[in-house]
Protein backbone atom coordinates (compact mmCIF):
# COMPACT_ATOMS: atom_id res chain seq x y z
CA UNK A 1 0.00 0.00 0.00
CA UNK A 2 2.79 2.33 0.96
CA UNK A 3 4.62 1.58 -2.30
CA UNK A 4 1.51 2.22 -4.31
CA UNK A 5 1.18 5.56 -2.58
CA UNK A 6 4.81 6.42 -3.32
CA UNK A 7 4.37 5.52 -6.97
CA UNK A 8 0.96 6.83 -7.87
CA UNK A 9 -0.02 9.54 -5.41
CA UNK A 10 2.86 11.15 -3.62
CA UNK A 11 4.81 12.43 -6.66
CA UNK A 12 1.77 14.28 -8.00
CA UNK A 13 0.91 15.67 -4.59
CA UNK A 14 4.44 17.06 -4.35
CA UNK A 15 4.35 18.51 -7.86
CA UNK A 16 1.14 20.27 -6.98
CA UNK A 17 2.13 21.41 -3.53
CA UNK A 18 5.60 22.70 -4.35
CA UNK A 19 5.07 24.00 -7.88
CA UNK A 20 8.15 26.23 -7.89
CA UNK A 21 10.38 23.23 -7.28
CA UNK A 22 8.55 21.32 -9.98
CA UNK A 23 9.24 24.18 -12.37
CA UNK A 24 12.90 24.07 -11.39
CA UNK A 25 13.02 20.35 -12.17
CA UNK A 26 11.33 20.92 -15.52
CA UNK A 27 13.84 23.64 -16.37
CA UNK A 28 16.82 21.46 -15.48
CA UNK A 29 15.35 18.70 -17.60
CA UNK A 30 14.77 21.07 -20.48
CA UNK A 31 18.38 22.23 -20.44
CA UNK A 32 19.85 18.75 -20.59
CA UNK A 33 17.17 17.79 -23.10
CA UNK A 34 18.22 20.60 -25.38
CA UNK A 35 21.79 19.34 -25.26
CA UNK A 36 20.73 15.77 -26.02
CA UNK A 37 18.77 17.16 -28.92
CA UNK A 38 21.82 18.98 -30.24
CA UNK A 39 23.89 15.81 -30.20
CA UNK A 40 21.08 13.83 -31.79
CA UNK A 41 20.87 16.51 -34.46
CA UNK A 42 24.49 15.84 -35.39
CA UNK A 43 23.62 12.16 -35.86
CA UNK A 44 20.51 12.92 -37.87
CA UNK A 45 22.27 15.28 -40.23
CA UNK A 46 24.95 12.79 -41.15
CA UNK A 47 22.52 9.89 -41.34
CA UNK A 48 20.12 11.78 -43.57
CA UNK A 49 22.73 12.67 -46.11
CA UNK A 50 24.85 9.55 -46.15
CA UNK A 51 23.04 6.70 -44.36
CA UNK A 52 25.96 6.54 -41.97
CA UNK A 53 25.30 6.16 -38.29
CA UNK A 54 28.11 8.34 -37.02
CA UNK A 55 29.36 6.79 -33.82
CA UNK A 56 32.00 9.51 -33.60
CA UNK A 57 29.54 12.34 -32.91
CA UNK A 58 30.17 12.07 -29.15
CA UNK A 59 33.93 12.22 -29.40
CA UNK A 60 33.63 15.08 -31.85
CA UNK A 61 31.99 17.06 -29.04
CA UNK A 62 34.95 16.34 -26.78
CA UNK A 63 37.48 16.96 -29.51
CA UNK A 64 35.94 20.33 -30.43
CA UNK A 65 35.76 21.49 -26.82
CA UNK A 66 39.32 20.34 -26.10
CA UNK A 67 40.64 22.07 -29.21
CA UNK A 68 38.97 25.31 -28.22
CA UNK A 69 40.20 25.25 -24.63
CA UNK A 70 43.73 24.16 -25.50
CA UNK A 71 44.08 26.71 -28.30
CA UNK A 72 42.89 29.37 -25.90
CA UNK A 73 45.38 28.35 -23.22
CA UNK A 74 48.09 28.32 -25.84
CA UNK A 75 47.17 31.74 -27.22
CA UNK A 76 46.68 33.70 -24.00
CA UNK A 77 50.43 34.27 -23.31
CA UNK A 78 50.89 35.53 -26.87
CA UNK A 79 48.04 38.00 -27.09
CA UNK A 80 47.89 38.76 -23.39
CA UNK A 81 44.15 39.05 -23.32
CA UNK A 82 41.60 36.36 -22.48
CA UNK A 83 38.91 37.71 -24.78
CA UNK A 84 41.14 38.31 -27.77
CA UNK A 85 42.56 34.82 -27.37
CA UNK A 86 39.05 33.40 -27.35
CA UNK A 87 38.15 35.44 -30.40
CA UNK A 88 41.11 33.92 -32.23
CA UNK A 89 40.67 30.41 -30.84
CA UNK A 90 37.05 30.20 -31.98
CA UNK A 91 37.61 30.50 -35.75
CA UNK A 92 40.72 28.34 -35.42
CA UNK A 93 38.65 25.62 -33.79
CA UNK A 94 36.09 25.91 -36.58
CA UNK A 95 39.01 25.50 -38.95
CA UNK A 96 40.07 22.35 -37.13
CA UNK A 97 36.54 20.96 -37.40
CA UNK A 98 36.59 21.73 -41.11
CA UNK A 99 39.94 19.99 -41.51
CA UNK A 100 38.53 17.05 -39.59
CA UNK A 101 35.52 16.91 -41.92
CA UNK A 102 37.79 17.01 -44.95
CA UNK A 103 40.08 14.29 -43.72
CA UNK A 104 37.19 12.05 -42.71
CA UNK A 105 35.74 12.41 -46.20
CA UNK A 106 39.06 11.89 -47.97
CA UNK A 107 40.60 9.18 -45.83
CA UNK A 108 37.62 7.23 -44.55
CA UNK A 109 34.44 7.82 -46.53
CA UNK A 110 35.65 8.16 -50.09
CA UNK A 111 37.47 4.82 -50.23
CA UNK A 112 34.40 3.17 -48.70
CA UNK A 113 31.80 4.48 -51.15
CA UNK A 114 29.34 1.76 -52.02
CA UNK A 115 30.25 -0.47 -49.09
CA UNK A 116 27.47 -1.82 -46.86
CA UNK A 117 26.21 0.50 -44.11
CA UNK A 118 27.66 -1.66 -41.38
CA UNK A 119 31.17 -1.18 -42.77
CA UNK A 120 30.74 2.58 -42.68
CA UNK A 121 29.39 2.33 -39.15
CA UNK A 122 32.49 0.36 -38.15
CA UNK A 123 34.60 3.01 -39.82
CA UNK A 124 33.06 5.68 -37.60
CA UNK A 125 33.95 3.57 -34.56
CA UNK A 126 37.47 3.64 -35.96
CA UNK A 127 37.29 7.42 -36.19
CA UNK A 128 36.14 7.50 -32.56
CA UNK A 129 39.10 5.42 -31.42
CA UNK A 130 41.48 7.52 -33.43
CA UNK A 131 40.13 10.78 -32.05
CA UNK A 132 40.38 9.49 -28.49
CA UNK A 133 44.00 8.50 -28.95
CA UNK A 134 44.95 11.50 -31.00
CA UNK A 135 43.12 13.85 -28.64
CA UNK A 136 44.86 12.49 -25.58
CA UNK A 137 48.19 12.67 -27.35
CA UNK A 138 47.75 16.30 -28.37
CA UNK A 139 45.69 17.76 -25.56
CA UNK A 140 46.63 15.47 -22.69
CA UNK A 141 44.19 13.43 -20.67
CA UNK A 142 43.55 15.76 -17.76
CA UNK A 143 40.30 17.60 -17.21
CA UNK A 144 40.05 21.14 -18.45
CA UNK A 145 37.78 24.03 -17.66
CA UNK A 146 35.65 25.56 -20.37
CA UNK A 147 36.60 29.16 -21.09
CA UNK A 148 33.11 30.33 -20.26
CA UNK A 149 33.96 33.91 -19.34
CA UNK A 150 36.40 34.54 -22.15
CA UNK A 151 33.68 33.51 -24.61
CA UNK A 152 31.37 36.03 -23.05
CA UNK A 153 28.90 33.47 -21.76
CA UNK A 154 27.06 34.97 -18.79
CA UNK A 155 27.64 33.17 -15.51
CA UNK A 156 25.17 34.78 -13.16
CA UNK A 157 21.74 33.54 -12.25
CA UNK A 158 18.25 34.84 -12.76
CA UNK A 159 15.80 34.43 -9.91
CA UNK A 160 12.06 34.25 -10.15
CA UNK A 161 9.43 33.93 -7.52
CA UNK A 162 6.58 32.03 -9.10
CA UNK A 163 3.71 30.83 -6.88
CA UNK A 164 5.32 32.62 -3.97
CA UNK A 165 8.22 30.20 -4.23
CA UNK A 166 11.67 30.36 -5.72
CA UNK A 167 13.06 29.53 -9.14
CA UNK A 168 16.67 29.89 -10.17
CA UNK A 169 17.82 29.89 -13.78
CA UNK A 170 21.54 29.89 -14.30
CA UNK A 171 22.40 32.31 -17.07
CA UNK A 172 24.68 29.87 -18.81
CA UNK A 173 21.77 27.43 -19.05
CA UNK A 174 19.61 30.16 -20.52
CA UNK A 175 22.45 30.83 -22.93
CA UNK A 176 22.58 27.14 -23.84
CA UNK A 177 18.88 27.01 -24.60
CA UNK A 178 18.90 30.23 -26.62
CA UNK A 179 21.96 29.14 -28.54
CA UNK A 180 20.42 25.76 -29.29
CA UNK A 181 17.24 27.40 -30.53
CA UNK A 182 19.18 29.76 -32.80
CA UNK A 183 21.31 26.90 -34.09
CA UNK A 184 18.33 24.68 -34.84
CA UNK A 185 16.37 27.42 -36.57
CA UNK A 186 19.29 28.44 -38.75
CA UNK A 187 19.91 24.81 -39.59
CA UNK A 188 16.28 24.27 -40.57
CA UNK A 189 16.25 27.42 -42.70
CA UNK A 190 19.49 26.35 -44.32
CA UNK A 191 18.24 22.84 -45.07
CA UNK A 192 14.87 23.92 -46.39
CA UNK A 193 15.60 27.16 -48.16
CA UNK A 194 19.11 27.21 -49.52
CA UNK A 195 20.41 25.44 -52.59
CA UNK A 196 23.07 23.64 -50.56
CA UNK A 197 20.45 22.49 -48.10
CA UNK A 198 18.35 21.20 -50.94
CA UNK A 199 21.38 19.33 -52.25
CA UNK A 200 21.85 17.73 -48.83
CA UNK A 201 18.23 16.64 -48.73
CA UNK A 202 18.45 15.43 -52.30
CA UNK A 203 21.49 13.31 -51.52
CA UNK A 204 19.73 11.82 -48.52
CA UNK A 205 16.75 10.96 -50.67
CA UNK A 206 18.34 9.28 -53.68
CA UNK A 207 22.07 8.92 -54.26
CA UNK A 208 21.97 8.08 -57.95
CA UNK A 209 19.58 10.87 -58.76
CA UNK A 210 21.66 13.34 -56.78
CA UNK A 211 24.78 12.35 -58.68
CA UNK A 212 22.97 12.66 -61.98
CA UNK A 213 21.95 16.26 -61.33
CA UNK A 214 25.54 17.13 -60.63
CA UNK A 215 25.59 17.15 -56.86
CA UNK A 216 29.09 16.26 -55.79
CA UNK A 217 29.20 13.62 -53.09
CA UNK A 218 32.49 14.82 -51.66
CA UNK A 219 31.42 18.45 -51.33
CA UNK A 220 28.22 17.58 -49.55
CA UNK A 221 29.85 15.05 -47.24
CA UNK A 222 32.51 17.53 -46.19
CA UNK A 223 29.83 20.14 -45.64
CA UNK A 224 27.64 17.84 -43.60
CA UNK A 225 30.49 16.61 -41.42
CA UNK A 226 31.56 20.19 -40.92
CA UNK A 227 28.07 21.21 -39.81
CA UNK A 228 28.04 18.21 -37.46
CA UNK A 229 31.40 19.49 -36.20
CA UNK A 230 29.96 22.97 -35.58
CA UNK A 231 27.07 21.44 -33.68
CA UNK A 232 29.60 19.37 -31.73
CA UNK A 233 31.54 22.50 -30.87
CA UNK A 234 28.40 24.29 -29.70
CA UNK A 235 27.42 21.30 -27.59
CA UNK A 236 30.93 21.04 -26.22
CA UNK A 237 30.95 24.66 -25.14
CA UNK A 238 27.68 24.62 -23.27
CA UNK A 239 28.09 21.16 -21.84
CA UNK A 240 31.68 21.90 -20.94
CA UNK A 241 30.51 25.03 -19.15
CA UNK A 242 28.31 22.87 -16.94
CA UNK A 243 30.47 19.81 -16.40
CA UNK A 244 34.04 20.63 -17.41
CA UNK A 245 35.86 19.42 -20.48
CA UNK A 246 37.16 15.87 -20.40
CA UNK A 247 36.85 12.65 -22.31
CA UNK A 248 34.06 11.68 -19.93
CA UNK A 249 31.89 14.10 -21.89
CA UNK A 250 31.74 11.50 -24.62
CA UNK A 251 29.33 9.52 -22.49
CA UNK A 252 26.58 12.06 -22.99
CA UNK A 253 26.67 11.19 -26.65
CA UNK A 254 25.24 7.80 -25.78
CA UNK A 255 22.23 9.61 -24.39
CA UNK A 256 21.57 10.59 -27.95
CA UNK A 257 20.84 6.95 -28.79
CA UNK A 258 17.51 6.73 -26.94
CA UNK A 259 16.72 10.17 -28.32
CA UNK A 260 17.26 8.81 -31.81
CA UNK A 261 15.18 5.73 -31.06
CA UNK A 262 12.35 8.04 -30.06
CA UNK A 263 12.77 10.65 -32.73
CA UNK A 264 13.79 8.46 -35.61
CA UNK A 265 17.14 8.73 -37.33
CA UNK A 266 15.96 10.93 -40.12
CA UNK A 267 13.82 13.58 -38.53
CA UNK A 268 15.30 16.88 -37.43
CA UNK A 269 12.19 17.80 -35.50
CA UNK A 270 12.11 14.26 -34.08
CA UNK A 271 15.61 14.75 -32.68
CA UNK A 272 14.63 18.01 -31.02
CA UNK A 273 11.35 16.84 -29.54
CA UNK A 274 12.88 13.47 -28.61
CA UNK A 275 15.80 15.15 -26.89
CA UNK A 276 13.67 17.52 -24.88
CA UNK A 277 11.19 14.79 -23.97
CA UNK A 278 13.93 12.54 -22.67
CA UNK A 279 15.70 15.35 -20.84
CA UNK A 280 12.57 16.39 -18.99
CA UNK A 281 11.22 12.91 -18.32
CA UNK A 282 14.47 11.58 -16.91
CA UNK A 283 14.84 14.55 -14.59
CA UNK A 284 11.25 14.37 -13.38
CA UNK A 285 11.52 10.62 -12.95
CA UNK A 286 14.78 10.97 -11.03
CA UNK A 287 13.39 13.50 -8.56
CA UNK A 288 9.89 12.16 -7.98
CA UNK A 289 10.27 8.44 -8.51
CA UNK A 290 13.94 7.58 -8.75
CA UNK A 291 15.11 8.97 -5.44
CA UNK A 292 12.32 7.63 -3.23
CA UNK A 293 12.06 4.26 -4.99
CA UNK A 294 15.54 3.43 -6.25
CA UNK A 295 17.72 5.68 -4.14
CA UNK A 296 18.56 7.94 -7.06
CA UNK A 297 20.97 7.77 -9.97
CA UNK A 298 18.22 6.70 -12.33
CA UNK A 299 19.28 9.25 -14.94
CA UNK A 300 21.94 6.89 -16.23
CA UNK A 301 19.45 4.27 -17.35
CA UNK A 302 16.01 5.81 -17.45
CA UNK A 303 16.26 7.09 -21.02
CA UNK A 304 17.23 3.68 -22.36
CA UNK A 305 14.43 1.81 -20.61
CA UNK A 306 11.97 4.46 -21.69
CA UNK A 307 13.09 4.20 -25.31
CA UNK A 308 12.82 0.40 -25.16
CA UNK A 309 9.26 0.60 -23.87
CA UNK A 310 8.33 3.06 -26.59
CA UNK A 311 9.87 0.81 -29.23
CA UNK A 312 7.74 -2.10 -28.03
CA UNK A 313 4.66 -0.19 -29.08
CA UNK A 314 6.00 1.98 -31.88
CA UNK A 315 8.94 0.27 -33.59
CA UNK A 316 9.37 3.22 -35.94
CA UNK A 317 9.91 5.59 -33.03
CA UNK A 318 7.56 8.31 -31.92
CA UNK A 319 8.03 10.47 -34.99
CA UNK A 320 9.34 8.09 -37.59
CA UNK A 321 7.15 7.31 -40.53
CA UNK A 322 5.33 4.06 -40.42
CA UNK A 323 7.09 1.66 -42.70
CA UNK A 324 4.65 -0.19 -44.85
CA UNK A 325 6.38 -2.76 -46.92
CA UNK A 326 4.82 -4.56 -49.79
CA UNK A 327 5.72 -8.21 -49.72
Amino acid sequence: METLYTVFVDPFVQMFEVPDFFLQVLWEGLVSGVLYALIALGFVLIFKSSRIFNFAQGIMVVFAALSLVSLHTFLVPFVGNEFVAAAIAMPLTLGIMYALAMSVERVVLRPLIGQPDIILFMATIGITMFLIGFGEFVFGGENKVMITEALGIPTGAIEFEPFGGFLLLEEKDVFAVVMAIVLVISLLVFLNKSAMGRAIRALGDDHTAALSVGISLSTIWVLVWFIAGVIALATGIVWGARAGVSFALEVIAYKALPVLMLGGLESVSGAIIGGITIGILEKVFEIYWGQPLFGGNTETWFAFIFALIVLLFRPQGLFGEKIIERV
Binding site: A195, A202, D205, A210, G214, L223
Partner: protein, 272 residues
Protein backbone atom coordinates in the same frame (compact mmCIF):
# COMPACT_ATOMS: atom_id res chain seq x y z
CA UNK B 1 8.95 17.58 -113.37
CA UNK B 2 8.49 19.60 -110.22
CA UNK B 3 11.19 19.92 -107.66
CA UNK B 4 9.95 19.56 -104.14
CA UNK B 5 12.06 21.28 -101.53
CA UNK B 6 12.82 18.99 -98.63
CA UNK B 7 10.57 19.74 -95.67
CA UNK B 8 12.28 20.76 -92.43
CA UNK B 9 11.32 17.33 -91.21
CA UNK B 10 13.29 15.67 -93.96
CA UNK B 11 16.27 17.91 -93.44
CA UNK B 12 16.20 17.00 -89.79
CA UNK B 13 16.04 13.31 -90.62
CA UNK B 14 19.08 13.51 -92.79
CA UNK B 15 21.10 15.11 -90.05
CA UNK B 16 24.04 14.75 -92.34
CA UNK B 17 26.44 17.64 -92.12
CA UNK B 18 25.82 18.63 -88.58
CA UNK B 19 28.66 18.98 -86.16
CA UNK B 20 29.50 16.00 -83.96
CA UNK B 21 28.66 16.69 -80.32
CA UNK B 22 29.73 13.45 -78.76
CA UNK B 23 32.08 10.99 -80.35
CA UNK B 24 32.71 7.54 -78.93
CA UNK B 25 35.64 5.60 -80.31
CA UNK B 26 36.23 1.91 -79.59
CA UNK B 27 34.64 1.92 -76.18
CA UNK B 28 35.02 -1.24 -74.11
CA UNK B 29 33.68 -1.73 -70.61
CA UNK B 30 33.99 -4.82 -68.46
CA UNK B 31 33.00 -5.70 -64.91
CA UNK B 32 35.59 -8.18 -63.78
CA UNK B 33 35.45 -10.79 -66.50
CA UNK B 34 32.04 -9.81 -67.78
CA UNK B 35 32.16 -7.67 -70.87
CA UNK B 36 29.29 -5.22 -70.97
CA UNK B 37 30.46 -3.25 -73.99
CA UNK B 38 32.92 -4.41 -76.61
CA UNK B 39 34.60 -2.02 -78.97
CA UNK B 40 31.67 0.23 -79.76
CA UNK B 41 32.05 3.39 -81.80
CA UNK B 42 29.35 5.85 -82.77
CA UNK B 43 28.67 9.54 -82.56
CA UNK B 44 25.88 11.91 -81.70
CA UNK B 45 25.46 15.05 -83.77
CA UNK B 46 24.34 18.41 -82.50
CA UNK B 47 20.60 18.80 -82.50
CA UNK B 48 19.66 15.26 -83.44
CA UNK B 49 17.61 12.66 -81.65
CA UNK B 50 19.68 9.54 -81.48
CA UNK B 51 18.10 6.27 -80.43
CA UNK B 52 20.02 3.43 -78.88
CA UNK B 53 18.13 0.18 -79.17
CA UNK B 54 18.77 -3.49 -78.66
CA UNK B 55 17.47 -6.52 -76.77
CA UNK B 56 17.70 -6.74 -72.99
CA UNK B 57 21.26 -6.90 -71.73
CA UNK B 58 22.67 -5.43 -74.91
CA UNK B 59 24.62 -2.80 -73.00
CA UNK B 60 22.42 0.20 -73.71
CA UNK B 61 22.19 1.48 -70.16
CA UNK B 62 25.88 0.75 -69.63
CA UNK B 63 26.53 2.94 -72.63
CA UNK B 64 24.59 5.82 -71.06
CA UNK B 65 26.44 5.26 -67.81
CA UNK B 66 29.70 5.59 -69.67
CA UNK B 67 28.56 8.77 -71.36
CA UNK B 68 27.55 10.51 -68.14
CA UNK B 69 30.51 9.29 -66.13
CA UNK B 70 28.92 6.70 -63.84
CA UNK B 71 31.18 4.09 -65.41
CA UNK B 72 34.73 4.49 -66.55
CA UNK B 73 35.39 2.50 -69.74
CA UNK B 74 38.60 0.48 -69.76
CA UNK B 75 39.30 1.31 -73.37
CA UNK B 76 38.26 3.89 -75.89
CA UNK B 77 38.24 7.60 -76.50
CA UNK B 78 35.33 9.88 -75.71
CA UNK B 79 35.23 13.34 -77.23
CA UNK B 80 32.55 15.73 -76.07
CA UNK B 81 32.21 19.13 -77.71
CA UNK B 82 35.62 18.72 -79.29
CA UNK B 83 37.30 18.00 -75.98
CA UNK B 84 38.86 14.66 -75.27
CA UNK B 85 37.80 13.34 -71.93
CA UNK B 86 40.23 11.71 -69.55
CA UNK B 87 38.51 10.64 -66.35
CA UNK B 88 34.96 11.52 -65.58
CA UNK B 89 32.65 11.91 -62.61
CA UNK B 90 28.88 12.33 -62.91
CA UNK B 91 28.93 15.83 -61.48
CA UNK B 92 31.61 16.86 -63.97
CA UNK B 93 29.55 15.46 -66.81
CA UNK B 94 26.65 17.56 -65.59
CA UNK B 95 28.73 20.70 -65.50
CA UNK B 96 29.81 20.00 -69.08
CA UNK B 97 26.17 19.84 -70.10
CA UNK B 98 25.12 16.18 -69.97
CA UNK B 99 21.86 15.41 -68.20
CA UNK B 100 19.98 12.15 -67.94
CA UNK B 101 16.94 10.31 -66.71
CA UNK B 102 16.77 6.74 -65.49
CA UNK B 103 15.04 3.54 -66.42
CA UNK B 104 13.49 3.31 -62.99
CA UNK B 105 12.75 6.90 -62.12
CA UNK B 106 15.37 8.30 -59.79
CA UNK B 107 13.65 11.22 -58.14
CA UNK B 108 13.92 12.69 -54.67
CA UNK B 109 10.71 11.07 -53.55
CA UNK B 110 10.29 12.96 -50.33
CA UNK B 111 10.70 16.34 -51.95
CA UNK B 112 8.16 18.40 -53.88
CA UNK B 113 8.12 18.60 -57.67
CA UNK B 114 9.47 22.13 -57.42
CA UNK B 115 12.34 21.13 -55.13
CA UNK B 116 13.19 18.23 -57.42
CA UNK B 117 13.44 20.46 -60.43
CA UNK B 118 15.32 23.13 -58.49
CA UNK B 119 17.82 20.45 -57.51
CA UNK B 120 18.46 20.06 -61.21
CA UNK B 121 20.06 23.47 -61.11
CA UNK B 122 22.54 22.52 -58.41
CA UNK B 123 25.59 23.02 -60.57
CA UNK B 124 24.26 26.26 -61.96
CA UNK B 125 24.26 27.88 -58.55
CA UNK B 126 27.31 30.05 -58.85
CA UNK B 127 27.46 31.69 -55.45
CA UNK B 128 29.98 30.13 -53.18
CA UNK B 129 29.21 27.88 -50.29
CA UNK B 130 29.58 30.62 -47.72
CA UNK B 131 26.74 32.70 -49.13
CA UNK B 132 24.65 29.63 -49.66
CA UNK B 133 25.06 28.63 -46.07
CA UNK B 134 23.93 32.04 -44.97
CA UNK B 135 21.19 32.04 -47.59
CA UNK B 136 21.58 35.75 -47.77
CA UNK B 137 21.88 38.56 -50.26
CA UNK B 138 23.29 37.39 -53.57
CA UNK B 139 22.41 33.77 -52.96
CA UNK B 140 18.78 34.67 -52.44
CA UNK B 141 18.73 36.78 -55.59
CA UNK B 142 20.22 33.90 -57.52
CA UNK B 143 17.64 31.50 -56.16
CA UNK B 144 14.91 33.76 -57.53
CA UNK B 145 16.45 33.76 -61.00
CA UNK B 146 16.71 29.99 -60.99
CA UNK B 147 13.16 29.75 -59.83
CA UNK B 148 12.05 31.72 -62.91
CA UNK B 149 13.80 29.29 -65.21
CA UNK B 150 12.27 26.37 -63.38
CA UNK B 151 8.80 27.85 -63.73
CA UNK B 152 9.35 28.06 -67.49
CA UNK B 153 10.17 24.38 -67.58
CA UNK B 154 7.16 23.57 -65.42
CA UNK B 155 4.99 25.39 -67.95
CA UNK B 156 6.75 23.70 -70.82
CA UNK B 157 5.98 20.23 -69.48
CA UNK B 158 2.53 21.16 -68.22
CA UNK B 159 3.03 20.12 -64.64
CA UNK B 160 1.88 23.32 -62.92
CA UNK B 161 -0.77 21.50 -60.94
CA UNK B 162 1.68 19.24 -59.12
CA UNK B 163 4.21 21.91 -58.22
CA UNK B 164 3.92 21.38 -54.47
CA UNK B 165 3.16 17.67 -54.43
CA UNK B 166 5.76 15.30 -53.00
CA UNK B 167 6.81 13.33 -56.06
CA UNK B 168 6.63 10.00 -54.26
CA UNK B 169 2.85 10.29 -54.30
CA UNK B 170 2.55 11.00 -58.02
CA UNK B 171 1.50 8.40 -60.58
CA UNK B 172 4.33 6.84 -62.54
CA UNK B 173 3.72 8.72 -65.76
CA UNK B 174 3.92 12.07 -64.01
CA UNK B 175 7.04 11.01 -62.12
CA UNK B 176 8.70 10.33 -65.44
CA UNK B 177 7.67 13.78 -66.57
CA UNK B 178 9.08 15.40 -63.43
CA UNK B 179 12.31 13.54 -64.03
CA UNK B 180 12.42 14.93 -67.56
CA UNK B 181 11.73 18.39 -66.13
CA UNK B 182 14.61 18.04 -63.70
CA UNK B 183 16.93 17.00 -66.52
CA UNK B 184 15.79 19.92 -68.68
CA UNK B 185 16.34 22.30 -65.77
CA UNK B 186 20.01 21.54 -66.16
CA UNK B 187 19.76 23.16 -69.61
CA UNK B 188 21.83 20.32 -71.00
CA UNK B 189 23.46 20.23 -74.36
CA UNK B 190 23.05 16.49 -74.42
CA UNK B 191 20.11 14.81 -72.77
CA UNK B 192 20.21 11.07 -72.13
CA UNK B 193 16.84 9.39 -71.70
CA UNK B 194 16.78 5.82 -70.45
CA UNK B 195 13.45 4.33 -71.51
CA UNK B 196 11.42 7.50 -71.06
CA UNK B 197 8.21 5.70 -71.93
CA UNK B 198 8.58 2.41 -70.13
CA UNK B 199 5.38 1.44 -68.38
CA UNK B 200 3.29 4.22 -69.92
CA UNK B 201 -0.07 3.94 -71.59
CA UNK B 202 -0.62 5.16 -75.13
CA UNK B 203 -1.76 8.62 -74.16
CA UNK B 204 1.15 9.16 -71.82
CA UNK B 205 3.51 7.94 -74.52
CA UNK B 206 2.10 10.44 -76.96
CA UNK B 207 2.52 13.24 -74.44
CA UNK B 208 6.06 12.20 -73.69
CA UNK B 209 6.92 11.96 -77.40
CA UNK B 210 5.61 15.46 -77.88
CA UNK B 211 7.70 16.77 -75.00
CA UNK B 212 10.82 15.10 -76.34
CA UNK B 213 10.28 16.55 -79.81
CA UNK B 214 9.54 19.98 -78.32
CA UNK B 215 12.65 19.88 -76.17
CA UNK B 216 14.62 19.01 -79.26
CA UNK B 217 12.97 21.62 -81.50
CA UNK B 218 12.39 24.54 -79.21
CA UNK B 219 15.23 24.20 -76.73
CA UNK B 220 17.66 22.79 -79.24
CA UNK B 221 18.63 19.95 -76.95
CA UNK B 222 20.48 17.03 -78.46
CA UNK B 223 18.88 13.82 -77.25
CA UNK B 224 20.06 10.24 -76.96
CA UNK B 225 17.35 7.85 -75.93
CA UNK B 226 16.96 4.21 -75.15
CA UNK B 227 13.52 2.88 -75.97
CA UNK B 228 11.88 -0.45 -76.55
CA UNK B 229 8.75 0.79 -78.28
CA UNK B 230 9.82 0.53 -81.92
CA UNK B 231 6.99 2.72 -83.13
CA UNK B 232 8.24 5.51 -80.90
CA UNK B 233 11.85 4.98 -81.90
CA UNK B 234 11.09 5.10 -85.60
CA UNK B 235 8.92 8.20 -85.24
CA UNK B 236 11.18 10.21 -83.01
CA UNK B 237 14.71 9.48 -83.93
CA UNK B 238 16.95 10.83 -86.65
CA UNK B 239 19.45 8.00 -86.41
CA UNK B 240 19.46 4.71 -84.60
CA UNK B 241 22.31 2.64 -83.26
CA UNK B 242 21.59 -1.01 -82.48
CA UNK B 243 23.49 -2.95 -79.82
CA UNK B 244 23.42 -6.64 -79.12
CA UNK B 245 25.51 -8.52 -76.59
CA UNK B 246 27.63 -5.43 -76.00
CA UNK B 247 28.48 -4.99 -79.69
CA UNK B 248 27.22 -2.59 -82.28
CA UNK B 249 25.34 -4.43 -85.00
CA UNK B 250 23.81 -1.56 -86.94
CA UNK B 251 23.84 2.20 -87.21
CA UNK B 252 21.85 4.46 -89.49
CA UNK B 253 18.53 6.17 -90.21
CA UNK B 254 15.47 4.30 -88.92
CA UNK B 255 14.51 2.84 -92.31
CA UNK B 256 17.95 1.33 -92.84
CA UNK B 257 18.08 -0.16 -89.41
CA UNK B 258 14.59 -1.56 -89.68
CA UNK B 259 15.45 -3.56 -92.74
CA UNK B 260 18.85 -4.71 -91.48
CA UNK B 261 18.94 -8.52 -91.34
CA UNK B 262 21.21 -8.66 -88.30
CA UNK B 263 18.88 -6.40 -86.35
CA UNK B 264 15.90 -8.53 -87.21
CA UNK B 265 17.81 -11.63 -86.13
CA UNK B 266 18.84 -10.05 -82.85
CA UNK B 267 15.28 -9.12 -82.04
CA UNK B 268 13.86 -12.45 -83.07
CA UNK B 269 16.57 -14.26 -81.15
CA UNK B 270 18.48 -16.11 -83.83
CA UNK B 271 21.34 -18.19 -82.51
CA UNK B 272 24.72 -16.52 -82.67
Amino acid sequence: MTVIDPTPEEVRKRGGEREVLLDLQNISLAFGGVKAITNISFNIRKGEIRAIIGPNGAGKTSMLNVINGFYQPQEGVITFNGQKRSSMKPHLAVSQGIARTFQNVALFKGMSTLDNIMAGRATRMKRNMFWQMLYWGPAQQEEIEHRKKVEEIIDFLEIQHIRRTPVGTLPYGLQKRVELARALAMEPELLLLDEPMAGMNLEEKEDMSRFILDANDQLGTTIALIEHDMGVVMDLSDRVVVLDYGRKIADGVPEEVQSNQEVIDAYLGLSH
